[in-house]
Each structure stands twice: as C-alpha cells, then as structure tokens.
Point group: C2
Chain length 257, copies 2
C-alpha cells in the first residue's frame, strides 16, 4: 500500500449506499482516500451541475486515511467541489466513481451520474474508473465487483496510459467463481424505450412516472459491453470526452459549404 | 413550407425563454411544430432524466400548426415524453433544441441541457440540431441565430445524412452583417476551472455557489468551435453518441489481458 497516493471516491447512489462503502474499501488499498458523495440519490443525473443553488458540504466520517463527506449536489458537483475547492491543485492519483447499484453499460453511459463523475474526474488528468454492478438491490453483493475493481485498478496504476483515461467498468451479477474474466469492449448501440405511466398525484393532478427497458440494437455483436455482461464477463469500455463525430465532417463540409 | 413535416422543439432555458420562441419561429417554417420545454430553467442538466418523481405536463399555447407544452422535468425528459408518449411512433422529421442563451461550444456540450435534449432526439432517428447564441442575456438578439438556423436546417433537410445526425451549432454574439459564415469544426479541448464562493445561507449555514471560466487548452488551433466563434464564424460540430475511446482499446487489451 502506497500511503502517499491520494484517491478521490464519489458515486451517484449517495454517501449511504453499500456500493460507496465498497468503493472506499477498494480505494483504501491504493492510498489515502477523500470521498465526497451526494447527500441524496442522484441516479440518472448524467454530467449535470448545480448552477443556481448553493451547495452544502458535511463531514460524515473520518478515520485513518479515510475522509468522507456528503454534498447537497450532483455527482459532478462532488467531483468539481473536491478538485477545485478541497484539493486545489494537490495531485490526485486516481478517481473511483461507484460502485453503482445497476448497470451503466451501453447507452447508459450518457445518463449515468456515476459515469458523469468519472468523466469529470478524468478532466483533471488522473485515471478515472466508473464501477457498476448489474444489480439494483440496496443489499447487492459487491464481492465480485471489489475483486475485479482491485485487479483492473492495479493494472492501470502499474501501467499508466499515455493520456487521460476514463473507464466504464461493469460487473455481471453472478458469483465471482462464475465470472469468466475481463473483456475490453465498445459501447453497445441501442436505445431506452420509455413508458410514462399515468398516476394520480396531489390535488388530483395527473402525473407520469418514467420506466423503460434498454433495447439492444446489436445483440449478436460479441465486441460490445452488453454482450460481455450477458455472457459472464466483466466489461471495460474506455470512454472519451471528445464528442465530435469526425466521420460526418466531410458530409457537413459538402452540404453547408 | 411542407405542412406534412413534424418538427419537435425543446430547450433548457424553459418555455418562457426568448430563445425558445425564436426556435419555434424557425421550426414553423419547416413544418408543423410540437414543442415541449421545461417548466423551469434547466441549464447545466446535461443528459439527466427524472427517475423518482412524477412529471407534469401543461398546455401553454395552441395556434395553427404550433402546440406548446411545458413539462416539470429536464430537457431530456421533454424529449423522451414527446417521442415515447405524445408521438408514439409518429414520424418526426427534425428536432430543434434551443436557441440557448449562452455558448455550448467546447466541453460545454457535456454539461448542456440543450445538447442533452438534442442528443436524445437523435436517438430517435431524425436529424437533431442544438442551437446556441453566445449571449446569456434574457433579452439577447436572436436575429443572426435565426438566420443561420434556417440556412443550416435547410441544407441538412435537402441533403439528408446517411446516418443519425446531431449538430452542435453555436452563433457568435455579433451583428448578422459581421458574421463571416459557417465553419464545420471539432470540439475544442479545455476544462472549466471552477470556483466555489462561500455564502451564508439560512440558519447561518455555510453554502457554496459555483462559478467558473472555460480554460481553452488549444487557443491557436483553427479547426475548433471556440476558434470559429472567437473569429466571427458560426460553428457546427457533428456530435456522436458512441463514447468509446477506440484508440485506447489496444493499450487496455495489453494491460488487462
């Protein structure tokens, strides 16, 4: 254990989540931990930031090498507050976001608060790992996820990437002994098909609750994260922050020129 | 004007914003308009969705070929509600998100609710255009932005792309006569450097308000959206929804293999 390292931990399920404790446990094996997680559940918050309201921070736990805070904002607020206010230029060696209760594979990466914070972390020039377990249960078993988190983090710390690294790691909800290993994947194509269920709310006002299911547009493709998870592997997708669709530039030059 | 076309309009500054009216005005020239915008300002909401609260919809305006609603959610909620509940499989020909009061160039694309909704719209297989003017003022002048919106939308409707198209269009805040034209660009690299200003809140509680400035990591590069805007051009960046960092896959195969 290298006590000199500084590891930042956050998540989107709030500082009370079992998966957050699991992430801190893994992080502690790699260095000193400062963790800032949302005060309330922030699932589906993507890269959202809080612009018009003040943020409140509260110390939740302090022990040897571990400081835990809650912040009244989004996962990305937590990352920004940590880097730009708490750390102020201190070197951070690793960001861990999670361990999320639920999958962030496929297009979930775009909606996920866990991945929003991981992406934000990678802006600051340190490797950043978003970790998710495909089980929404509050009492989910994180043993396999912790095992692979350790393995993957050890590998990227020992063999650093030459440029900003942000990983979207998803672990299937099966016993550790049944997991077949790690697969480097691409993001699966698909779309969430949503339903809006009518519900009667206060004052007989008509509200709508969203629910949905992911429709996989390429279930046969063996190089996607969804395929890896469905077939007993841990999926690892490297995530970029350049959203430019370079292949469409030529078409646009032609039609707009 | 082709009355058969169905155009969906949304934004992140709420249904009351001047830029939203400007977007509807442009959209109406291309077909029948159904507009669903957030009830309250949703700047910085990225691709966030509302999972745990019901959504409420309200009709705000109906006239020949134009229906306007407000929804108590995020920009992406508006898009999902429109496509999956209001339209239910009807063919939509175009999505316009904006016109945003403020720039969405560079890494803003990741935080922007305007672009979150535009990205969501492109999932549904129709061309999608996020429009922004680099002026935060509520009374900003949208004449130049409307002019270029018409021009760009005409071009992509007449010459459709062969696959999903999502554009991040930004218009500099200068008179129409001074704009030099349209440039197809890539997303500029940079980072928001944030400050958290302490403020005393209710019950003498210490709060922090975020503010920040975009730090351009490549101010000399002439192919970026930030350069285009700083030099009097309208920037057009094609946006992709596959976040996979393909170039890092080989490195990961090596270190995780």
């Amino acid at each position: 254990m290298n006590k000199e390292r500084l590891i930042f931990v956050t998540n989107d399920d709030s500082f009370r989540a079992k998966g957050f404790a699991a992430a801190i446990e893994v992080a502690r094996e790699f260095g000193r931990v400062v963790a800032v997680a949302p005060e309330s559940v922030q699932s589906g918050k993507s890269q959202a930031i809080t612009i018009y309201d003040p943020l409140f921070i509260e110390s939740r736990h302090q022990s040897e090498g571990v400081e835990v805070y809650s912040l009244s904002g989004t996962p990305v607020d937590c990352a920004k507050f940590a880097f730009d206010h708490l750390f102020r230029g201190q070197r951070v060696d690793l960001v861990i976001s999670g361990i999320n209760h639920g999958s962030n594979a496929g297009t979930n990466v775009l909606y996920s608060g866990t991945m929003g914070a991981a992406i934000e972390g990678s802006f600051y020039g340190c490797p950043s790992v978003g970790l998710s377990l495909t089980d929404h249960d509050a009492e989910a078993d994180f043993e396999a996820a912790k095992h692979y988190a350790r393995e993957i983090i050890s590998s990227i710390m020992e063999n650093p990437a030459s440029e900003n690294l942000c990983l979207n790691v998803n672990v299937p909800n099966i016993p550790l002994s049944e997991i077949k290993g790690v697969r480097v994947c691409r993001q699966c194509r698909g779309i969430w098909l949503d339903e809006f269920a009518p519900m009667e709310c206060e004052d007989q006002k008509q509200g709508y609750m969203i629910s949905g299911a992911f429709s996989n547009h390429e279930p046969e493709a063996e190089d996607t994260d969804e395929w890896a998870l469905a077939n007993g592997y841990v999926s690892v997708v490297p995530v970029q922050i350049d959203m430019t669709h370079y292949k469409q530039m030529e078409y646009l030059e032609r039609v707009l020129g």
